[in-house]
Symmetry: C3
Subunit: 320 residues, 3 copies
């Protein structure tokens, strides 16, 4: 059992989906659903984090994930403070750990952390006090567990019978923390078939994604797929961005157009973690088309983050 | 009827003052007055936006307008999130529309947008769902409707008989979204006389401001004026900033000093949208003097923004 | 009496600790203690600033002080808005005073200001209206009164008999606003002995810290001290940073290691205002060791800022 669970199985941190079993993951998704009212609105503001302090520590640029967590915390009535590259003491050499320790001494309860360096969220849990929580909001290219949760929640809403689904993840799988976390979640939930589709240099090392099949051609890769999950090209996370084909060349080979989408099942859904590079990963007609569930992913993102925060609230020390 | 009004005449978006008639504008100003208590304090916090989410999207630098909207939203009990150039994914190529769509999917109700590009607020209204609102917080040099509202509210408080007033707008009218919106509001309310005063290159094209007289000399332009509204020199919005006279040369010809102000009516008020370039547009003695209503403009700014938000709240979909 | 007190002795602004007498300072520390519950949590959110607006104006980078004030204000239920270098109109030439005046016109009640320029907080009090408050959150190398308060609160908690204490301030005293404010507070509370320890170029001018002894060797300086307060090296505030020894050379002479700490009393506490430059001012083993009260300083920081805000609330004009 990873340190993210307490001895009684309660959620203490959200570091990775690896330690979850199917029942735990399903229960968390069910919890998230309770915050969605008819897919059009969230349930009214809830007092679960009233009197609690949540700190957002985003050391990589982010709009959607930062604001998604911010809204999730506000909708549970938390006090929220933000530390980011622009306003922090990073330039004075303060390390992430020192920042977390400082905020902990100010009685911050939950730390939502995005960092480019691998291992930081785990390391932080070893140094903070019991009754405080770390949530991984994106860690190097390793993991992004709440994105994995929102992806499988979206898939489950559209295609509940996961055991019979074929999911194709298309694009820069190698540098994608989203792909890793979503694949973990799908594995735990027993997805029927998982495919990785992309140019050879963007597919992961052979040891990773053990249960997935690999395709280097889009048409074969998405053939009869129920879910086509496209990824953002992460030039910023590559060691040699120049090795990547140009945007036009990538779109020519792997860009999902309405025409190429015909290879998938007629009722296949199209996903993307955003922000979309239009006419690179996806044709706009597909991104904004009837098969796209991109907006729904975003909506679900707030709900799963509320669920994670609400679960973690039970492990926090003291009374707020 | 512009899309900013619903079929029943309710306010759905605040894009421009052009579509308002006198009754609508007067009613909105009256509403704003209800938030002002004896010009010294705002009325207590009101629950009108409780449970609603307001996003501030400022893609041009701003202190006063951003904070004015922020406080207006807080004082109506909204949840507020901020997206700005520093913390957003702009550098990852996300467009304003994609950002708005993402925030919409997180159930943001109101989008307060400042952009350097013309046409963006209108375009956004075509893509967001019914029951969501766009507020224009400054659009290129075209319009800044809440500034127009606060300006006419301030004028009306000081000089209620608008039909008999002479208002002189002095300075860089050509690049000023403030001048355009305030002139529109004054026209709708039937101002007696409107003058544009500035060096020829800073006066607008002949087709614009049809009902206004033009002056290229300060003394003649403000002669017997009841209201002298000075504008900020907008070097950042000019194509050729070097074409502008130096600050000293500008102040010599168009800077408002206590002495030159004598050309206006003895009870004339002096306005400026801020931030003032002291000793360029205005002598400090005038900016801080007894005829200045600059601080009152700022106070009124929060009140008109509360009124706009409160009106728009009636058009929002769902229950908060 | 400085302008920071009203005629009845009430706290109107927090500019400096100079004007405090022992009774006033003690009373403020006692007030701060009421927000600490068993050193593990703050007392529940209190309504003292409900309906009040607090603006954070940090014109120097800061994480800990900005967030400490932010949390203090939130925990007293204030509305908080932030102006900082990144999002402000500074680049449009707006001065600090104009920003404060603008925020005042929006009915901001309390201005928490950090500036690199000396004299700004005092100057601001001369220009804002009665019933508005300025709090100095760090002024040049002159003063940082709430840091002084949190330091003496921490000392008092650990070593209540201040009259018999020996306190050694070690490091870059010359450029330290922390040292000045803490020394003032210690003087007012009648500390037994105060020592300044550092290389000659980093000790203050002779006229300053009149009652303190000076040491240029660490071992002699901390010999039998009850409190060893180390300071951050402030390269950014030095006129000639190159004149300073290298980090390694500094650590060699003045860095506090567990071994060198043996010169102090066996129960001596070690303080640092943070963020710590590890292996420069302090060995990590000392910073994180059992004698360190650094985290407690941070905890006390929120409490003293709540106390200052709560006291000032009584002087604010109008009803919130």
């Amino acid at each position: 059992m990873t340190p993210q669970f307490g001895p009684d199985g309660s959620l203490r941190h959200m570091l990775s989906l690896k330690g979850f079993n199917r029942q735990q993951l399903t229960s968390l998704l069910d919890h998230a659903e309770t915050y969605l009212v008819g897919h059009a609105h969230y349930a009214p503001r809830q007092p679960r984090l009233l009197g609690r302090t949540v700190a957002l520590l985003f050391f990589e640029p982010s709009t959607r994930t930062r604001i998604s967590f911010h809204l999730a915390a506000l909708r549970l009535s938390a006090d929220v403070v933000t530390v980011d590259g622009d306003t922090s003491s990073q330039r004075k050499g303060e390390t992430v750990l020192d920042t977390v320790r400082t905020l902990e001494a100010m009685h911050t309860d939950v730390f939502i952390v995005r960092v480019a360096e691998a291992g930081v969220p785990d390391m932080l849990t070893e140094h903070i006090g019991t009754g405080k929580s770390i949530i991984n909001a994106g860690e190097a290219h390793h993991s992004h567990p709440t994105q994995g949760l929102l992806d499988v929640l979206t898939i489950r809403q559209c295609k509940p019978d996961l055991g019979n689904l074929c999911v194709a993840i298309v694009g820069d799988v190698r540098h994608s923390r989203v792909a890793r976390s979503t694949a973990e979640a799908l594995q735990i939930l027993g997805v029927g078939e998982l495919r990785l589709v992309g140019p050879e240099p963007l597919l992961p090392a052979a040891a990773e994604f053990a249960h997935a099949e690999r395709y280097t051609e889009l048409d074969a890769g998405i053939c009869d797929a129920d879910v086509v999950m496209t990824l953002r090209i992460q030039r910023e996370r590559m060691r040699d961005p120049a090795a990547l084909p140009s945007d036009a060349a990538y779109f020519e080979r792997f860009g999902l157009t309405a025409e190429r989408l015909r290879a998938a099942r007629p009722d296949a859904i199209v996903m993307h973690p955003g922000p979309v590079n239009r006419e690179v990963e996806l044709a706009s007609a597909v991104a904004d088309g009837p098969r796209s569930v991109i907006a729904r992913q975003v909506t679900n993102g707030v709900a799963v983050r509320m669920a994670v925060l609400a679960r973690i609230a039970e492990s926090l020390s003291g009374t707020p």
